[in-house]
């Protein structure tokens, strides 16, 4: 089933353009790293504060940096899909890619959990106020998942070379 799905995505016009163009891959990669910085920056600032770093920062305004995270994520989703379309069969069977996609989904669910269960409390976590243990677990998990996503992404070409 996976194979059929991957084959159906192989050879699209946009995928072939990315694959054959000399400059598209380096430009998209540079954008992917800029997106990484925006995404991780917003996430790390919130997660670190919830975990107790710079405790006199109020958490609500850090939580409002979410648009920065979404801009970074949007850039990386678009550039990531373009990488994938340039070689769906190669990426699809690559264990580092599969691991990365699963971790991104987990990080998304984890962030959704924060929004649904914890975001109403952020106003209470003002300067010097300790966040709940619940929030610390969610934010610790977030940092772990994003570190795993970066690691998987960086090791992806090496796994591709092994296949």
């Amino acid at each position: 089933m996976l194979q059929g799905f991957l084959e159906s995505l192989d050879g699209t016009a946009i995928g072939l353009t990315v694959k054959t163009s000399v400059w598209m891959f380096p430009v998209l990669e540079a954008l992917h790293f800029i997106g990484l910085a925006l995404l991780i920056g917003g996430i790390a600032a919130l997660d670190l504060r919830v975990l107790g770093v710079a405790k006199r920062l109020p958490i609500a305004p850090l939580h409002k940096l979410l648009p920065l995270v979404f801009v970074g994520f949007g850039i990386n989703l678009i550039t990531g899909v373009l990488f994938f379309l340039s070689d769906p069969l190669g990426y699809g069977v690559n264990p580092a890619f599969q691991f990365k996609v699963i971790f991104i989904l987990l990080a998304g669910l984890n962030a959704l959990w924060f929004e649904l269960k914890l975001s109403r409390q952020v106003e209470e976590w003002g300067p010097g106020v300790d966040a709940s243990t619940h929030a610390k677990v969610v934010c610790g998990l977030s940092l772990f998942l994003w570190a795993g996503i970066i690691t998987a992404g960086r090791l992806l070409p090496s796994f591709a070379a092994l296949l």
């Binding site: 540079a30 920056g41 109020p58 970066i150």
Partner: protein, 152 residues
């Protein structure tokens, strides 16, 4: 070149995992270093004003940690490929951008964040913009090393 003949350099370049492992550290450090500096630069520019700059300053150890991670992994990656990097214009642009970004980060840390004004002075804002531009430049130039350097 002697650097390339060191045992560590040979391992990094010759083994399957050496180079990607150090690239991974380099990307994790990038996230911390540039990511947190983006947040600080944006605050200097007036975004999220309820965040006191003097408190945001307490995130700086994590910025420096990211920098050290990248300096160490960067030196190892350079050693493995010293001639290619040394003669690469992209590499030279990258180092120049990093120096500019670092000088600004030190200035913001020692002066602007410490002064803790809600409205930052025009010079601080200008430097925040240059900081964002120089880290963007460092990322782009860094990525281009792999594509524009002539193989030796």
């Amino acid at each position: 070149m002697m650097l390339e003949n060191l045992e560590l350099s040979q391992w990094v370049l010759g083994s399957i995992w050496g180079y990607p492992v150090f690239l991974t550290f380099h990307s994790l450090g990038l996230g911390l270093l540039v990511g947190l500096l983006v947040v600080i630069d944006l605050r200097v520019l007036g975004v999220a004003k309820p965040l006191p700059l003097s408190e945001l300053r307490k995130m700086m150890p994590y910025v420096w940690f990211g920098f050290v991670l990248n300096a160490v992994s960067g030196v190892v990656l350079f050693m493995a490929d010293a001639r290619k990097d040394y003669y690469s214009n992209s590499f030279r642009w990258k180092i120049l951008s990093i120096v500019v970004g670092l000088v600004i980060a030190v200035y913001l840390n020692n002066k602007v964040l410490r002064e803790n004004a809600e409205e930052t002075p025009p010079l601080a804002r200008l430097l925040a913009v240059v900081s964002l531009a120089s880290w963007t430049g460092a990322i782009v130039a860094g990525r281009l090393i792999a594509y524009l350097s002539s193989p030796l």
